[in-house]
Subunit: 185 residues, 2 copies
DNA sequence: AAGCCCATGTAACTGGTTACATGATTCT
DNA sequence: AGAATCATGTAACCAGTTACATGGGCTT
């Protein structure tokens, strides 16, 4: 039921349209925390309305519907957040591949590790820009800038990917490659 | 089709029983890369056999079946590994919660961050022990110790969780809590 | 008026979970 | 004999994807 709780969480800060919520997923949630597509979000919003967790507070142009939390929904969200979970199952195809590296020949691993570094660095650049933007818009107020928290997590994760791949590539260098005893250059 | 490829990857190092494969998931894959339970693994192995990706190479005690890769399966695995993916969707309930922190009151966040630190530190201790074990068993041979690669990734991920939570808690300290203007101590 | 983005939805399918079910072997 | 672990499976259900489908409103 994580999609449901993710939607409740987004609505905690105020009413949003379905389209809006979908955008939130695309921008940040889908990348690091929880992926969802519109064809899953819209039906879920309908079910949540039926279950009394949210309600339509406005209907705008182009058939847009603005959803807001009901009291029940807000309570459900807080209950979920405050209930500890042991170890939640993770699914990341990228990480799975890293774990499966050993099934390749040593020579084939290097380009894959290089790809990880390249992609991670692109992500780092993107997040650096985002963080700069957030920091510039932040006036020292009474609430912390939470978008900054998520961005920081994303940044550190990308750095981890990069650093791990560089470390792994370094480890590979300590072992002979298939043509190291027959250097052609 | 990631479960399928995860199973192929595990079988790349040699034949295994279903029970054995399931154990591999429980130990490491499920925690950091890809979760799967036995009730999903067994039917998938049957389908993969039907599709000619793997085959039963032995049947042992207690009805156990040992599966091995076919040539087709090995090719399929390599194709999958060597085909680049752009950004694969991620799903982690734990990370989702971190992203949803802002929907709580500042005072409620701190215990959650403390939990993250505690759990991450338990994971670090576990992985430290695992790595020591791997290193002790490693004789400088011709192939790198790949279990070490996965363990290193897990370790760094746990450290990231801990460090981020500590950083976030520090950020919270810079903002007034609901009773900071009325200190009871 | 053409093209783009806004905005929502459905249908058929595949992926994955939870609970149920069974029996063999080993250890104490 | 009883408990734990090995070992595999099925059935009903829920979660999520892919492809299809539609139309309103805004900009040039």
């Amino acid at each position: 039921m994580s999609l449901r709780h993710a939607l409740l969480g987004l609505l905690m800060e105020g009413p949003h349209t379905g389209y809006d919520l979908r955008g939130r997923f695309e921008q940040s949630l889908s990348r690091y925390a929880w992926h969802a597509s519109h064809s899953h979000i819209y039906p879920e919003l309908r079910k949540m309305t039926e279950d009394g967790l949210i309600e339509i507070v406005d209907e705008g142009a182009r058939g847009s519907k603005t959803y807001g939390l009901t009291e029940h929904g807000a309570r459900e969200f807080r209950d979920w957040m405050l209930t500890p979970i042991k170890d939640s199952p993770v699914r990341s195809e990228q990480t799975l591949r890293l774990f499966m590296l050993s099934a390749l020949e040593v020579d084939e691993m290097r380009p894959l590790l290089d790809d990880v570094v390249t992609q991670a660095e692109a992500g780092i650049a993107e997040l650096d820009a985002a963080i700069e933007h957030i920091d510039a818009a932040t006036t020292s107020g009474d609430k912390p800038p939470f978008a900054r928290f998520a961005a920081e997590f994303g940044l550190r994760y990308r750095q981890l990917q990069r650093d791990w791949a560089l470390w792994a590539a370094g480890e590979l260098d300590r072992y002979p490659t298939s043509d190291s005893d027959n250097p052609s250059a």
